[in-house]
Structures are given as C-alpha cells and as structure tokens.
C-alpha cells in the first residue's frame, strides 16, 4: 500500500476505535470522572456484578435471542425451501416483497407497526397490558426471518437440483430425501442464518423498545434506561466486557473459517494426488 493509503487507513481506524478505546480505559478509572483518569481500579466491574437488574437483563437477552434465532431459523429454512421451487409467479412476487419489507423499513416503523397491532388485539381481548415476552419474541422472529431466508436461498440455488430426485430414485422417501440430502447441502447457509439471527436479536434496541412490556428488559433496553440518567462508569465496564466477548467470537469464527478452508484445501489436494 502507498503511504497516503496507509495514513488514510490509520485515520479511519483512529476514528472507529478511539471512542471504544476511551470506554475501555475509563472503565478502569478509580474515580467517577469521564475525562480525568485517576488510577487503575476494578471498582466499576464489582459494581456491575452486583447490579442484579443488569444481570437479569443479560439473562433475558440470551433467552430471547436463542428462542428467536431457533424459531426463525427453522421457519426461515423451511420457507426458503418452499420459495425456491415456487412456480406461481404472483405468489413468489408477493412473498419476496413481504420478505424485503422488514429489511428496508426503518426499525422504528417495524416496531411501531407491530406495537399498534399488539395494542389493538390486546384491547379486543380486554387485556390491561398487551406487550410482554411473547410480543417481543414475535417481533424478533419477524425481523430475523428475512435474513435467514436470504442466507439459505443461495445455497439452494447452488445445490445440484437433481440430487433429491436421485435419492428418491434410489428408494428414499420424499421426507428422507429432504432430510438426508437437501438439508446437508444447505447446512452452511442455515448455520450462517442462525448466527445472524442470534446476533441481530442480541443487538436490537429500537424494535424491542416499542414491543417490550414493562416486565421484560433486555440488555439494550437496560443500557437505554441506564443512559437516561447520569451514567456511572459501570456502563463502561459493561461495554468493555461486551467488546471482548465480540472480539473473542470474531476471532474464533475467523479461526474456524480458516480451519475449514484449510481442510477443504487439503481434501482437494488429496483428491488430486489420488488421480
């Protein structure tokens, strides 16, 4: 790279990481100040681990993200399989349009629209509060679904279309052909979809904000409530932990990718050598 490029890269990285670095540094600050560093301390981490509301929010977030990811992955994979072979042009267009809506619409509109429906339906049944864990789960599954479908569809298109039929010619039942032949072929897409759905759900604030009841608080909503008042560096400690968890996850997935790439490469070389 040329010098100018290197300098520009450096500046962009400074812009991207300086704010995060500041959070990390000040999470270890002895005092409450956010601009003067007065000595290393783990005080704010202790505070964080004594904060039962935040810990509860972490638990809620994980429960919600795991449920939403599993449901949207199963339903989305099934949907992709159906959409892939759909011959009716109008039905296909309608489904594609519906799938695009949550991705194009701003989160605030997705959130508001679901909230209005939940409130209306809740009123019909005379419920005092219509927003709860269930409504949040519905909302999360809804915004995760398109991403799962978009991960699985290309894998179906890449698959040899004759494979499931060949399996059936060889005596497989349709269900068995689907489970034993099609699913393994598209599995990498399903897995990526699952991971995407999980992280999207984990990270969502806006849609959760409009569809959550009072009782169920996820981590982003907890952070929102914390930053409403004056913030203690406790939130910085939380941000630091989140940062390192993300970093570890990214490194791990890169490592796994490199590993699979390596195994595939080796397998190919072995194949070549045999020939």
């Amino acid at each position: 790279m040329k010098t100018a490029s290197k300098i520009y890269t450096g500046l962009v990285m400074l812009f991207l990481f300086a704010p995060i670095a500041i959070l990390l540094v000040f999470s270890f600050n002895g005092a409450k100040s956010l601009s003067v560093f007065s000595g290393f301390s783990l005080h704010w981490y202790e505070e964080l681990f004594r904060d039962s509301e935040t810990l509860g929010a972490v638990k809620n977030t994980l429960i919600l993200a795991v449920s939403a990811a599993l449901i949207s992955t199963v339903m989305g994979t099934a949907a992709a399989v159906g959409i892939h072979r759909l011959r009716n042009r109008y039905l296909r267009l309608a489904l594609d349009t519906a799938t695009n809506i949550p991705m194009i619409n701003p989160d605030i509109i997705t959130g508001i629209s679901l909230m209005l429906m939940f409130v209306f339906v809740g009123r019909l049944f005379g419920a005092a509060t219509s927003l709860n864990f269930g409504t949040m789960l519905i909302a999360h599954v809804t915004f995760c679904l398109p991403y799962v479908i978009l991960q699985v569809l290309p894998k179906l298109q890449q698959m040899d279309q004759a494979l499931p039929e060949a399996a059936m010619d060889l005596g497989c039942t349709p269900l068995r052909a689907f489970l034993k032949v099609e699913i393994p072929e598209i599995f990498p897409g399903v897995l990526t979809g699952l991971i995407m759905a999980f992280t999207l759900s984990l990270d969502d604030f806006v849609i959760s904000y409009f569809t959550s009841g009072n009782g169920f608080q996820t981590l982003p909503i907890r952070i929102y409530n914390m930053t409403k008042k004056t913030v203690t560096p406790k939130m910085y400690a939380l941000a630091t932990i989140i940062f390192f968890v993300i970093l570890a996850m990214l490194l791990l997935s890169n490592l796994l990718d490199a590993n699979t790439a390596q195994t595939v490469k080796e397998a190919k070389e072995k194949k070549k050598a045999r020939k």
Binding site: M13, F15, L95, L116, E165, L175, D203, L250
Partner: protein, 292 residues
C-alpha cells in the same frame, strides 16, 4: 408410478414448508403496516379522521432566535431537519467510505480480511454504547475539551448542536457504507480496469468511467443503509443533540411515550411514504445511469 407419487410427495413437503412463513409474513409483516394506516386515519375512538395528518402539516410553534420570535410549522420543520442531517451524514459517509472501500479492494487478500474484520468490530458493539461513547468525548467537560485545554487551544461547545448529531450518525453507520461498496468492488473484474488503461484512459478516467459505474449498486445500497437509520433515529439526537431539537424519530417516540398512538402512527405513515418514494427514485436514477 411410484416415482410420480414420490415427486408429488416432495412437492407437498415444499408447500407445507412454506405455509408457516406465508401465514407469519401476512400476520406480522403485512397486517401491522395496515394497522399503521388504520391508526393514522382514526381518532381515539377509532372513528375515521384526517386530523392526525392535517396536524402533521399544520401544527405550529414559536421559535425564538435572539430577539425575534417567529412561528414555524413544527413537524414540517422537524422533517426537513431530519432529512438535512441524514443527507449530510450519508454524504460524509460516502466521501470517506468510497475511497476507503476502493483501497481495501486493491489490497492483498490477507490485508483485505484484516481490514474488513476491523471495520466490523465496532458494528457489533451496540449502537447505544457507540453513541454514548461520543457523548463522553464531546461533552463540555469531556475528553475533547480536556485535550484542547491541555494544548491551550480553548474550548469548543459542540454537544447539543446539529454537528454533534451528524458526528454520531457518521460514526454509527459508517461501516454500513463501506461494506456493500467493498463487496461490489472486490468482485469487480480487474481486467476491465487494465483494458481501460491499455486503451489510454487516465487514472481519473478509469475511476469515473469504469470503477464508479460498476460500483453503483454497492453505492446505492450503502446510501440506503446509512440514510434510512439516520433519518429515523431518536437515540442519537437525544444523547448528542441533548434533546434540544427533535428529529422525526424523536417525534414518533415522544408521541408513543405520551400514548398518542394515532398521531405517532400518522408520523410513521408519512415517513414510510416519503422513504418509499425516495428509494424508488434512487433506484430509478441508478438504473438510468447504468443504462447510459
């Protein structure tokens, strides 16, 4: 015979597989949007009214600048302000991001991987935390002013201004601009660029006539991915704008908090229509460009 029944069996499985999603999409994607329109056009007793929409266009409030006080259309002003800040942020992201995406796509495969991972790390941090980090930097007693003070450069007041909100938007959504442009550029055929060079095209000519038109789909999706969240945000303006001025997202959120669901729906309805028209125009412009 058996083969045929088997094939229709597979077809049946596929139709059955699609059924739950079709119902789900109808119930939780399409119907809620109808509810936005329904709430926008009804009053608290669910009777038809156009008052919510009229209120959006006609509500006025007093703005005092110095001595003079003038009357402004509250929500139109908010809308124009949101559009202005979102467009500025998107333009900055594009100006900063386009050369950067180009640079990454020209680097070695290994460097590309590292740089893309680095860009994605802040994206994975929750945007509330990212925005909050800027609040601590830009505050009057924050790190920026501490730094300026230490260098004897005086102090600047930036928190609570539109500039602070733009900084927040650019920071939060910058990676969303780079990634789609980069992914288009990475797939670009290098031979096209070499061919243009061989045929006597200058460096700038290659950029303008070859790289830019080819990267346009990436630019369009980058613009959409920055513009849409910027125009509809409410957290960034609350934190970095100190809640001193509203954006369209704040208007919706505050009506929601005040339990004025019908007016909140009306604002959301208008925002949705404007975005729909805007995106269609953008797409059309791009198609025309690509054809020319």
């Amino acid at each position: 015979m058996r083969k045929d029944s088997n094939k229709s069996g597979l077809g049946l499985i596929r139709s059955l597989a699609l059924a739950p999603y079709s119902v789900w999409a109808l119930l939780f994607i399409v119907v809620p949007l109808i509810f936005v329109a329904y709430y926008a056009f009804t009053d608290n007793n669910y009777q038809f009214t156009t008052e919510n929409l009229t209120r959006f266009f006609t509500a006025t409030s007093q703005v005092s600048s110095g001595e003079a006080t003038r009357e402004v259309r509250t929500y139109l002003l908010i809308f124009v302000r949101s559009l202005k800040l979102a467009v500025i942020s998107t333009a900055i992201c594009l100006l900063m991001g386009y050369p950067f995406a180009l640079m990454i796509s020209r680097a070695s495969a290994k460097t590309q991987g590292v740089l893309i991972t680095l860009i994605m790390i802040p994206m994975w941090m929750n945007f509330l935390i990212r925005t909050y980090a800027w609040m601590t930097i830009l505050q009057d007693t924050g790190i920026l002013n501490g730094l300026l003070g230490a260098l004897h450069l005086g102090k600047i007041h930036i928190i609570g201004t539109e500039s602070a909100v733009v900084i927040g938007m650019v920071y939060d959504y910058f990676p969303y601009m780079i990634l789609p442009i980069y992914s288009v550029m990475a797939k670009m055929d290098v031979k096209l660029i070499e061919a243009a060079r061989d045929l006597g095209c200058s460096g700038a000519g290659v950029l303008r006539r070859v790289i830019w038109p080819l990267s346009l789909p990436g630019v369009i999706s980058g613009v959409e991915m920055v513009l849409i969240p910027s125009i509809s945000t409410f957290y960034i303006s609350q934190k970095l704008g100190n809640g001193k001025f509203y954006l369209i997202g704040d208007a919706i959120e505050s009506q929601y908090v005040a339990n004025n669901l019908h007016f909140a729906a009306a604002i959301a309805f208008i925002l949705m229509l404007v975005l729909l028209v805007g995106m269609a125009l953008l797409q059309r412009m791009a198609n025309k460009r690509a054809m020319a």
